[in-house]
Amino acid sequence: MIRHDYSRVDPKRRANLDYKKRQFANPEFKQQDYEHRLNFYTLPPTAEITLEDFETWAINRLKVLSELEACSFRNRSPEETAEYMTSILNKYLPLRSNSARSQNLQEERKRDHYSHFILRLAFSATEDLRRRFSRLETMLFRLRYKEDDIRERREFVNSLHLEWEEVSEEEKRQWSTELAAASGSKRNDDQDWFKVDWERVPELVEQRRVLLKMGKAYVPQREQMSLVVAEYTKRLDDALELTARALPRLDEDDRLAPILAHLSQSFTTPDAAYSSSDASIDGLSAPTANSIDVLSKHFPLCMQNLHMNLRANSHLKHFGRLQYTLFLKGIGLSLEECILFWRRSFKLITDEKFTKEYKYNIRHSYGDVGGDANRRGRGYTPYSCQKLLTEPVPSGGQNHGCPYRTFKEDNLIALLQKTGVSDRDLLKTVREDVGKKRYHVACNRVFEHSHKREIKKVKDDGTWSAADLDTIVHPNTFFKRSWLLKHLGEGNAGVVNGEKMEE
């Protein structure tokens, strides 16, 4: 069904050299035998399946992947994710271990195998899709790897023939202290170690969980997962690249192409995306540089924090500026007003310096300059909570990001009090939420508390549906909802934006 090598001669005339060629040299469709529950998906499937299966299997896998992505958006811990995913996986993509002795074992694995390759086709077209697909498939693989039976997992890993050098006893003795310190264990357990080029375990290196010596990483046995997963990601990325290159030559009839296109489209809208409807708010006429101060009381904490810092220091560092500019763009501030806003805010800076060092970046954020005019579109989209919660934390002098995440608890409480949140019970629960790393829950809690009356009103009226009051996952949604709730019943725009704003 799906071939990776299109530039081949007639299959019958080819010499049987390696397994891939051998597989295709034999034109009979062959069922693969799935020995292990886990799969590195190296061999493409060759059997025929019906169009209907093609579509349903793919859609089922897609459902699993989007749920996984949602988990990462909501910042769920690995344990929570695993728990949440169990039922979903059982429903859409069951995959039992050998010990289950199920009748459907081979059938399940076949579905897993085929659906993976179908989605590969659907998501190899653009760099973005490839990256996203590879990230989610890696998450799925990791999830399954973790809950796999230990014995079967070992067999699976052995079947991969990864080249790992074992650390000799002598070396273990020589570096015993360092090895123990690197792995973070209390040096009592005498475990086995592997020695690999450090490039193969970048995530362990990044977190300083392995010992490094002259470019070799000493990986403890229990970190094996990291190695296997890294290998999986690497092979998948390579394969996706190959698929992408072969895709234009996929000389398929019009049966598969529409299905594939449909699949990839339904994958491109992440749930926390900024929708341009957030920019147009009934009753709020276009904000101006002057009105930001007044409007800022409706901003979420991340933006209020930036605004206060901007007012206090007459300056913000790059990432803070970027985050704030995009947010302001999102609430409908025009480019001209935005430049004016920053110009006035940076009081201590000369016009020349401003024009030279800052103006370009503002215009760039709006898509006014930079790169290829055809491709830059309307600049960057405003950052979502997901983005703010996953980007690197600020370092000295920087103020960007989500304060619920970047602030020490005491400082966060102080900041909240400064913005007028003083209810002690509320602050206590916020503290608990933050302790559990449920940053967006804390933020939503604060929102609900400060708009308690209004929310109750619209609920009672029935003017707002439940969807309108769903959890906030975007700073611009926060603003929009806050502004609308505080201006209930003021249908006309003039009141807010007229004289009151000009002062």
């Binding site: 760099e127 360092e178 123990a180 310190a181 690197a182 973070g184 450090w198 490039e199 970048p202 995530e203 290196v205 990044e206 977190q207 300083r208 010992l211 490094l212 010596k213 002259m214 470019g215 070799k216 020349e352 310096k353 030279k356 290829d372 491709r375 690197p392 934390v393 600020p394 370092s395 000295g396 002098g397 920087q398 103020n399 990001g401 304060p403 970047t406 602030f407 020490k408 005491d410 400082n411 966060l412 900041l415």
Partner: protein
């Protein structure tokens, strides 16, 4: 740096005596170019050979050298330089003379090219120029060192930056049918350490200024990062470069480092990064115990510096700043005891305050919940917070990030971005790094020693730039040697594979 554009606004300290010498440049013109051009008669000839020897003599450039020979003399008469140390750093004449006579294009070329004959490693390399009018010109590329040099002399960039090697020539990027055909392939792994990141713990200077006291931060950082890159990652070719004002850059040039993708770069940056969090996040160092061997080693290096550079020279907890120290300590009782004690004598030096912590703890101010071990760990964290390198990690994480080239002139200070010898990193003095105007004056004043008789010296050899260029040359030679061995090995392996 607007002030560096016009000579009228050269740095303050110079403007005072410039009143008296204001008229000099014109009158000096005649006198000053004489030593440079020994005799009117053979002026042209000498200069020609000079040029030939300096940049273009090698048969490596056999194809392009004759061209230069033919073209250079008319376009550059023996440079009647009106350059004294009073000239502005970015004056066109200064920059022209610098690029023509001092900038080591040849070694820069060899460094980036990894081979004596021009390859795509150089030809597809992105350069970005900052022009005198502050326009920023990206995606420049050059087939050879001579062409780069020519464009520098012509455009007189106040500085230029070096980016990655791309899959196709950066100048052709718009002619490609597919945008994906133009992507960065390799670049040195780079690090940028800048004093801005130390502003919250630096007490001696603020902003753009530096002194010997605060340079100690950079020295510490270089030591820690350098040893980690060498011992842990096995990198050999690490070039440290003074950034011209108040920081340092590192270029890790090993082939293995150059070929890393973003994930791996991020991994190394993460491995080396320790301080987390902004102004509001409280304690910035929170590491697990036992300390990772890299941190243990770093701590051992940094301990001494903490005593001298931090406690004595920076005195970070004087007066009300002691509050920050208190904030970092774990025990409530201990904190209040210390607070009381220091409130009585706010001028107590930091070194004493630091020992107070232990003394009071020993005297029993520790509550039951805090062990001496956890206090020791907190103290280690504090040492690390005040000494551990603060990298601008974003620079290291991206393959396509540009970084200022070595040996260009910093437009604000006029200092040349010279390499730092890591074997003598303690001795490096940023305030002693020659400025471009000083160097040009040295060329003019040079009279030639006995032993140099008969040899044709390049202009840089007549100045204080000499040890730095030699250091760079040595570094490049070492890199080329390894590179050559690598190529040979690959070829041999390839041949093996070809045999049946």
């Amino acid at each position: 740096m607007p002030h560096s554009i016009t000579p009228e606004s050269t740095p303050q300290e110079e403007s005072q005596d410039s009143v008296t010498v204001k008229a000099e440049p014109e009158t000096q013109t005649q006198d000053f170019d004489m030593p440079d051009a020994p005799a009117e008669a053979d002026k042209a000839k000498v200069n020609l050979e000079d040029l030939f020897n300096d940049e273009d003599s090698d048969n490596e450039f056999s194809s392009s050298a004759p061209q230069i020979k033919a073209e250079q003399p008319p376009s550059s008469p023996p440079v009647p330089v009106a350059i004294s140390s009073k000239s502005g750093y970015s004056d066109p004449e200064v920059m022209r003379a610098f690029y023509q006579r001092l900038f080591p294009f040849r070694y820069l070329f060899q460094w980036l090219n990894h081979s004596p004959s021009p390859t795509n490693d150089f030809a597809h390399r992105e350069f970005a120029f900052t022009l005198p009018n502050d326009a920023y010109l990206r995606y420049q590329s050059f087939p050879t060192a001579d062409v780069l040099r020519k464009q520098c002399v012509q455009m007189l960039p106040s500085r230029f930056e070096i980016g990655p090697v791309y899959s196709t020539n950066p100048r052709d990027r718009k002619t490609l049918r597919k945008a994906s055909a133009f992507r960065p392939l390799t670049k040195e792994l780079v690090f940028d350490i800048d004093m801005t990141d130390y502003d919250d713990i630096r007490t001696c200077c603020t902003g753009a200024s530096i002194c010997h006291k605060c340079w100690a931060f950079i020295t510490m950082a270089i030591k820690v990062v350098d040893v980690a890159l060498r011992d842990d990652y096995g990198f050999k070719h690490i070039l440290w470069v003074y950034s011209g004002r108040r920081g340092a850059h590192a270029w890790v040039c090993d082939k293995r480092a150059r070929e890393m993708d973003d994930t791996k770069r991020r991994a190394i940056a993460g491995y080396l990064e320790l301080l987390k969090g902004g102004d509001q996040s409280g304690k910035k160092v929170n590491v697990r115990r036992p300390l990772h061997p890299h941190l243990e080693r770093s701590l051992n290096i940094l301990k001494e510096h903490f005593q001298t550079s931090i406690l004595h020279e920076q005195d970070p907890w004087s007066e009300e700043k002691a509050a920050h120290l208190l904030q970092l300590l774990p025990d409530q009782t201990l904190r209040s005891e210390l607070e009381k004690k220091w409130a009585a004598s706010p001028s107590r030096p930091s070194a004493r305050k630091w020992t107070d912590v232990d003394e009071l703890a020993k005297a029993g101010s520790l509550s039951a919940s805090t062990t001496t071990k956890s206090l020791l760990e907190a103290k280690q964290d504090i040492v690390l917070e005040y000494t551990y390198p603060r990298l601008d990690a974003e620079v290291s994480k991206k393959l396509n990030h540009l970084l200022k080239s070595p040996f260009v002139v910093h437009p604000g200070t006029g200092r040349v971005c010279v390499p730092i010898d890591t074997r003598k990193v303690e001795e490096f003095d940023p305030l002693d790094v020659p400025t471009v105007t000083e160097l040009l004056a040295e060329v003019d004043e040079w009279e030639g020693g006995e032993e140099d008789e008969g040899k044709k010296l390049a202009d840089w050899e007549k100045t204080r730039l000499k040890p730095y260029v030699e250091l760079f040359r040595e570094f490049v030679a070492g890199l080329l040697k390894d590179e050559k061995a690598g190529v040979k090995r690959e070829r041999e392996e390839g041949e093996d594979a070809m045999e049946f």
